[in-house]
């Protein structure tokens, strides 16, 4: 699936950058100009052009703050526009995260902006890529459930306090393991974008990067210190002038984390199911996505191990196929039947299909030649499960409900946000 992204100034349509996904040539200058021109024509006639579909592709336009126009061209999978708009919204806010809202709203020199904007590419490219993580799709942060979720809270708090901050978190392999209550109070999009950025850092490094929180502080930069405690395990803290990176590394890391080697090693070796081995999984389950729509947390895996003798072993699906099916299922159901989980700041036009339903949908399922899927929407959770086609239809509902019952009680889903803010 090829994707083209074009970013232009809204005034004048000067191209700022383009990104592509897949083995395709980037769009020619004339094509970029045409995409901009169509939108500008509509704008001049008092019409807001949002999207269009061709035989194969879908084109989405969005203008941010009357300053920056983003155009996304991607193959049309028939799902609601909301998912394309979510992606385009993430891309703009990734730009805000690195260069600040003011630079984007009042563009002084295009040349300078073009140079500055390059720092956003790694995160934007990750957003365009297919990944095993479902956070970007659901505007929430990917989390990991492990026995260490509680053990590691205390050293994190100690470290963040010693760095004179209240915003801090620990990621393992791009998934949030523990965070301070202020961190959990950030929007799902912010937590997700920071997680994507931390994942894009070279392994084993320490970094000190100025970032603007897209919603909490889009105009004032903070310093995000991220330090690899072990390869893939990164502790981050958001701070002002102090401490310096050298101080944090040399003086603050050791006291807080020294005694927690084992716990850190355990999350580094967390199973690919992203949940502890002690939680029993039905042998027919190939993958799942669990969303806490209220707290903007996303727990997922498409790499559940095949259990010997289990139903799934008869027709094994490779992880990429599982990912594609679950993604397609999610994109069909959310927006179509279930309400999407969006950042509260987002003001999108309505008209999503789920709003036309006479009642709110709670469960749905789908069967294909080599898979079955089941989805539940209940009690602040949306749960999507991919089954092997060998699992009988009648079993899917109870298996899904039981697993949701178990997982939703996990510590990671305890609401740790500070309510005051």
């Amino acid at each position: 699936m090829a994707v083209h992204l074009v970013c232009l100034t809204n005034e004048g349509g000067v191209p700022l950058f383009t990104r592509t996904k897949g083995d395709v040539k980037s769009l020619a200058f004339a094509e970029q100009g045409m995409l901009y021109g169509v939108q500008m024509f509509a704008q001049n006639h008092g019409v807001k052009l949002e999207s269009t579909t061709t035989e194969e592709a879908k084109v989405i336009w969005q203008v941010f703050h009357d300053s920056v126009t983003l155009v996304l061209v991607t193959s049309n999978d028939g799902s609601c526009d909301i998912h394309y708009k979510t992606l385009i919204n993430h891309i703009f806010h990734a730009m805000v995260m690195f260069i600040g809202l003011e630079t984007l709203v009042s563009i002084r020199t295009v040349e300078k902006l073009r140079r500055e904007i390059k720092v956003c590419y790694p995160v934007i490219d990750t957003l365009l890529q297919d990944t095993d993580l479902y956070g970007a799709l659901s505007s929430s942060v990917d989390v990991l459930v492990s026995a260490e979720n509680t053990t590691l809270q205390e050293p994190l708090e100690a470290f963040v306090t010693s760095a004179e901050s209240t915003f801090g978190c620990l990621h393992a392999d791009g998934k949030l393991v523990v965070a301070t209550s202020n961190w959990w109070a950030l929007s799902g999009q912010e937590m997700m974008l920071v997680a994507k950025f931390i994942q894009s850092l070279p392994i084993g490094t320490s970094s000190d990067v100025p970032i603007y929180l897209p919603h909490a502080s889009p105009k004032d930069p903070h310093r995000l210190l991220s330090i690899h405690l072990q390869p893939g395990v990164v502790v981050s803290v958001l701070c002002y002038a102090n401490p310096t990176l050298a101080e944090a590394e040399e003086q603050l890391i050791e006291p807080a984390w020294r005694l927690h080697h084992e716990a850190l090693r355990a999350i580094q070796r967390a199973p690919s199911s992203n949940i502890p081995r002690t939680i029993p999984l039905d042998a027919g389950i190939l993958g799942y996505v669990l969303l806490n729509t209220d707290q903007h947390k996303c727990l997922s895996s498409v790499r559940l191990p095949l259990i010997a003798g289990g139903a799934a072993e008869l027709k094994p699906l490779p992880p990429y196929a599982r990912r594609e099916i679950l993604t397609a299922f999610y994109r069909t159901v959310v927006g179509g039947l279930f309400p999407p989980s969006l950042s509260p700041e987002r003001q999108d036009s309505s008209g999503e299909a789920y709003k036309c339903l006479p009642h709110s949908a709670e469960e749905t399922y789908m069967c294909g030649d080599d898979f079955k899927t089941y989805a539940l929407n209940s009690g602040g959770f949306q749960f999507f499960v991919l089954f092997s086609s060998a699992v009988p239809q009648y079993a899917m509902r109870s298996v899904t409900k039981n697993l949701l019952g178990t997982l939703s009680k996990e510590k990671i889903f305890v609401d740790r946000r500070t309510k005051s803010s």
């Binding site: 000190d208 100025p210 310093r223 310096t244 080697h261």
Partner: protein, 292 residues
């Protein structure tokens, strides 16, 4: 060429640290095993160190920590060089560094005079050029207490070389005396070079700094060898540069603490004309770390 080179060898390489493929000797292999894993360079987090991995029957090496600050124009290859020296995958396209990114790499070596083993811990402080200009705190943080400053230029970008001069006059006014090294990147595209060897010589003469030439790309065959897990291929590849770098750092340290006497200035600029460069007997076309 040899005449020029002998005139400008700052210190004979290999005087203090074993160069000649020490990592291939049985003794060297034991030490290098601690920084390797499945034939690739092991990555160490902030809480880890290779010392625990050095076999207990061996002499435990002393850790020598150095902070190296990287300076150079955007896109010149600072981050790629770090990735290369740390044994990591070099990105194929330019990625703008969004802030300060520090990387640590360990390199075992044997001191020639005492026969002692040391584990060099080099921390590279790399910061994006654009972000340094936008935020004032970035550059001072990189320079603070840095034992060495690596200046970068690209062989295929003349302006990056011109920039060096201004940067040099700025930095030399500082009170601290870090080791200065110039690194020329993209040497693999030497036929497109915009800088002549004469200019490099003159520059070296004027500022008395060593100039290393690097190519951060691998030939396809070398990539295959790396993927095949041949533990020595990658180490072989960077060993000349790493050994040179750690030797300069070590000498600089010794000079500063007065353990090695140099004729006049504290910088490494003693040119002993009678000594020939140790690298001169190697094939200079193959060697990435030769001097002009």
């Amino acid at each position: 060429m040899d005449d020029d080179r002998s005139k400008w060898c700052f210190h004979t390489l290999g005087t203090y640290i074993n160069h000649d493929d020490w990592h291939k000797t049985p003794e060297g292999k034991d030490y290098f095993a601690s920084i390797l894993r499945h034939g690739k360079r092991r990555v160490f987090g902030c809480l880890e160190s290779p010392l625990t991995l050095v076999p207990s029957h061996l002499e435990q090496p002393k850790i020598m920590k150095y902070k190296l600050c990287l300076v150079g124009k955007t896109g010149v290859g600072k981050s790629s060089t770090v990735a290369k020296l740390c044994g990591q995958r070099v990105p194929t396209t330019h990625v703008e560094t969004p802030g300060i990114i520090t990387s640590v790499t360990y390199w075992p070596a044997k001191l020639k005079h005492s026969g002692k083993h040391v584990m060099f811990r080099l921390q590279f402080w790399d910061a994006g050029h654009a972000v340094q200009r936008k935020f004032d705190h970035i550059h001072p943080a990189c320079r603070e207490k840095a034992q060495a400053v690596l200046y970068f230029f690209s062989f295929i970008d003349r302006s990056s070389f011109e920039d060096l001069r201004t940067q040099f006059s700025k930095s030399l006014s500082n009170e601290d005396t870090p080791l200065l090294v110039v690194i020329g990147t993209k040497y693999d595209q030497y036929n497109r070079s915009e800088i002549t060897s004469r200019e490099l010589l003159d520059f070296q003469k004027q500022w008395q700094v060593p100039i290393l030439k690097l190519k951060n790309v691998l030939k396809p065959t070398e990539t295959n060898a790396l993927l095949a897990g041949d533990s020595c291929a990658e180490i072989d590849d960077v060993a000349p540069v790493m050994n040179t770098l750690v030797e300069y750092l070590w000498i600089h340290d010794q000079v500063l603490s007065g353990n090695i006497e140099l004729s006049s200035s504290p910088k490494l600029n003693t040119s002993r004309e009678e000594e020939t460069h140790s690298a001169s007997d190697r094939d200079s076309d193959e060697d990435e770390a030769t001097y002009v």
